[in-house]
């Protein structure tokens, strides 16, 4: 969250005495505050044309066979409760609880054969393409951090990488994408990570922030107080730039969904702020989809968000199918709204949307009505970014146990995302802690998916 605090001698409108310190709490990326970030970004330079990625992480491992790869020829203990429906692309069928996505299948690419999961309950592999084991010093950077490093901000006053995940009990699901060895300057801006609902600027909420007069009065007061102490002169260019971000309103406006037409917000489905499932995963917050669109429109290159709790082992926390009946329609509403909105704004070729989880789920339904972890194969959904949509990639065997054709590794998907951003995974590198150049994916094995480019 944003916090702007003033002089220890002064008292602001909330009556609380503040220390003379400019802090951008929500922009504190792994302990680094915004000025440091901007300093680092400056070294990275500004990128080329503005392409963006929105990555939706389905925390917990979504059931591939109940979403995009229904197994109607399997026995009932594997087949499950759902029926497939036709889509706008003849021959492609998906779950009955995803009717809106089915209607726009010509814009989508379900991948039915994601392989290489290390089976860990974490966003890590979706964020980095790498496994947690045997990491280099500093850790693997997430793709958002790599993009931040390579391309920098696309627009003044807008960070290149934003993670919308709120705080969760399971921190590995809340992971918006770590900076790793590219450095904390490239960690995401995480406006929801503090668990607070609203941005605050010296106690000013978003509503007040929208009131430029009130905002400027407060900032002017801050400036006067800091100036009188001589401390403003000590602010380096990056601090001043941070102040510029705050006063530009660009980021705050992007996150202020009240500026949207309520009808459009309704179309996205709004959603809940309460974390889903056991409270340890992300909420079914469809506002995040809308916020993601507003952020990429404002110049953010990579937006990540965690959506729902997909770890459905069964009773007493609801069967796999009860949870799916709960989650799938809401995902269907939010995701379809996002894709329609991007299309309506002409952004469909500039913004890539990637939806996936850390692994799939067991073919056999357990005694509690759940499906357990199944790292051997999982699914993903791609859209936008100028890819060749309206096709399914890969297949699993009759029981959904393993990839039968065209296994697709996590790194191939991320290589495709990099390609959509204009980054050549055969050439681009980032230096690790030892100054050694590292490729973004293991490009000897994994390339952008040729079916899509």
């Amino acid at each position: 969250m944003l916090n702007l605090v003033g002089s220890r001698r002064g008292h602001f409108c909330d009556g609380i005495s503040r220390r003379s310190f400019l802090k951008v709490g929500g922009l504190a990326m792994g302990g680094l505050v915004l000025p440091q970030l901007l300093r680092a970004e400056a070294a990275a330079g500004v990128g080329r044309s503005h392409k963006s990625i929105i990555m939706v992480f389905l925390s917990g491992g979504p059931p591939h066979q109940d979403m995009f790869d229904l197994k109607m020829d399997a026995p009932v203990e594997i087949r499950g409760e759902f029926r497939p429906i036709h889509t706008s692309v003849p021959g492609i069928e998906i779950c009955e609880h995803l009717p809106r996505l089915a209607g726009m299948m010509d814009q989508l690419v379900p991948i039915r054969s994601i392989v290489g999961s290390e089976g860990r309950h974490a966003a890590f592999q979706c964020q980095t393409g790498q496994t947690v084991k045997r990491q280099p010093a500093g850790g693997w950077p997430s793709f958002g951090a790599v993009v931040s490093k390579l391309q920098g901000p696309a627009a003044a006053g807008t960070p290149p990488f934003v993670g919308l995940a709120p705080r969760m009990r399971n921190a590995t699901w809340a992971d918006p994408g770590q900076a790793g060895f590219v450095g904390q300057a490239h960690a995401p801006f995480t406006p929801n990570a503090s668990g607070e609902v609203n941005l605050t600027l010296n106690g000013i909420d978003l509503e007040t922030l929208g009131d430029r007069n009130a905002l400027m009065q407060n900032l002017d007061r801050l400036r006067r107080e800091v100036d009188s102490s001589g401390e403003i002169a000590g602010l380096d260019a990056y601090h001043q730039q941070a102040l510029g971000i705050l006063t530009s309103n660009r980021l705050a406006e992007a996150l202020d969904l009240d500026r949207e037409d309520p009808k459009l917000r309704d179309r996205y489905g709004r959603g809940d702020n309460v974390n889903a499932g056991y409270g340890d995963a992300g909420p079914l917050q469809n506002d995040y989809f809308l916020a993601a669109r507003r952020l990429v429109e404002a110049g953010v290159r990579v937006v990540t968000l965690a959506y729902g709790r997909w770890d459905w082992h069964g009773r007493p926390h609801g069967t796999n199918f009860e949870n799916a009946r709960d989650h799938l329609p809401q995902l269907d509403i939010g995701l379809s709204a996002l894709l329609e909105d991007l299309q309506a704004r002409g952004l469909q070729d500039d913004v890539s949307v990637l939806v996936w989880g850390e692994f799939g789920r067991t073919p056999r339904i357990n005694k509690k009505g759940g499906r357990d972890h199944w790292p051997r194969v999982s699914c993903a959904l791609l859209a936008g970014g100028g890819i060749r949509a309206g096709q399914v990639i890969g297949s699993t065997n009759r029981l959904g146990e393993h990839a039968e054709t065209r296994p697709v590794h996590f790194q191939e998907v991320l290589a495709t995302m990099y390609r959509n951003l204009g980054i050549d995974v055969n050439r681009a590198t980032v230096n690790d802690f030892h100054g050694r150049p590292r490729y973004l994916v293991d490009h000897s094995l994994y390339q952008p998916m040729p079916e899509l480019v």
Binding site: N273, A276, G279, R315, H317, G318, E322, R325, D326
Partner: protein, 315 residues
């Protein structure tokens, strides 16, 4: 949390059968996560609801307002009941505890613990002196409400105990299990008195008729069945649900049965014949609990779709 009083709609279609006019809920309430339980206060003015969001809530049926949220459980709340003419509320939670709260202030008054795994079923004896619970530790427990002492630990189950129900006399307890067993226990001795047969599937919910003569079960085989409690003879089989039947209860006069199921429907049955009287497709997901008001004029349904709805009882 939005409290809704005849104003909020969801996408659930309401369908009635048997030529009844379309039925509309009189109240709609919502938790931010699945709703697992509902109970009317004895005076019919409040509704208590239990949710997988780890809370129970009290709602005014007069104003539609949310009155109170009972926080403190560490996992989903699977059942809720009013005690002492509505002055207290008991909640049972997957966190393995039963808690008693002051219904006016939400103050926690007592907490009972003993289960070694998820607690998933809960019942209060008619005189409110005893509690019964069942859990994923494959046991049922009978507790003294005052002091929380365990009177009996009932074992021998081959799976989680999904259902417990006291006979109106308080001397017998029925249990239903994932292993499909349906048994009647002597509360004083902890011995099995009778086993009920003739069904297949998990026993999801149990209810005694107000006179104690009949035991009804909601079953995984998509049926509701009734047995003569004294002899164990199967009396009726109610069919019509198109999925697991999750919950069942008797009307206060004992003439109707009400069930809710995985198919999102509430179904009213003639208790004697087992004939379906009315159906409403009230929810978009499994119905986990149904309850009659004490005057029998209203029913409440709690669903995994997060909604709790109050309906008029069909004529």
């Amino acid at each position: 949390m939005a409290a809704c009083f005849c104003s909020q709609t969801d996408e659930t279609s309401l369908l009635t059968t048997n030529d009844l006019p379309a039925m509309e809920p009189t109240h709609i309430f919502r938790h931010p996560n699945a709703a697992y339980g509902a109970a009317f206060s004895p005076d019919g003015k409040r509704l208590a609801t239990a949710s997988l969001d780890n809370t129970a809530k009290l709602w005014s049926l007069e104003s539609g307002d949310e009155l109170l949220t009972l926080r403190g459980h560490g996992d989903g709340v699977c059942a809720v009941e009013f005690l002492d003419e509505g002055k207290q509320v008991a909640t049972a939670s997957l966190d393995k505890t039963v808690r008693i709260w002051a219904a006016d202030s939400g103050t926690l008054l007592a907490s009972l613990s003993g289960h070694q795994n998820y607690l998933t079923s809960f019942a209060v004896s008619a005189d409110e002196t005893l509690f019964a619970t069942g859990g994923f530790d494959n046991v049922a427990r009978i507790w003294q409400r005052r002091g929380g002492a365990t009177l009996q630990v009932l074992g021998g189950f081959g799976g989680p105990v999904y259902a417990v129900a006291f006979a109106p006399s308080g001397t017998e307890l029925a249990t239903g299990c994932e292993d499909q067993s349906l048994q009647l226990w002597d509360v004083a001795t902890g011995q099995v008195r009778r086993t009920f047969e003739g069904h297949s599937g998990v026993v999801e919910s149990l209810a005694f008729s107000p006179d104690g003569g009949t035991l009804a079960a909601a079953l995984g085989d998509q049926s509701v069945r009734t047995w003569d409690a004294a002899s164990g003879r199967l009396l009726a089989t109610c069919t019509g649900h198109t999925g697991v039947v999750k919950c069942v209860t008797y009307s206060p006069d004992g003439k109707r049965l009400l069930s809710g199921g995985q198919d999102g429907t509430l179904r009213w049955w003639d208790a004697a014949s087992g004939q379906q009287v009315a159906t409403v497709r009230g929810h978009a997901n499994s119905v986990y609990d149904v309850a009659f008001s004490e005057d029998g004029r209203s029913v409440a349904s709690a669903s995994f779709d997060r909604f709790i709805k109050v309906w008029p009882t069909p004529a």
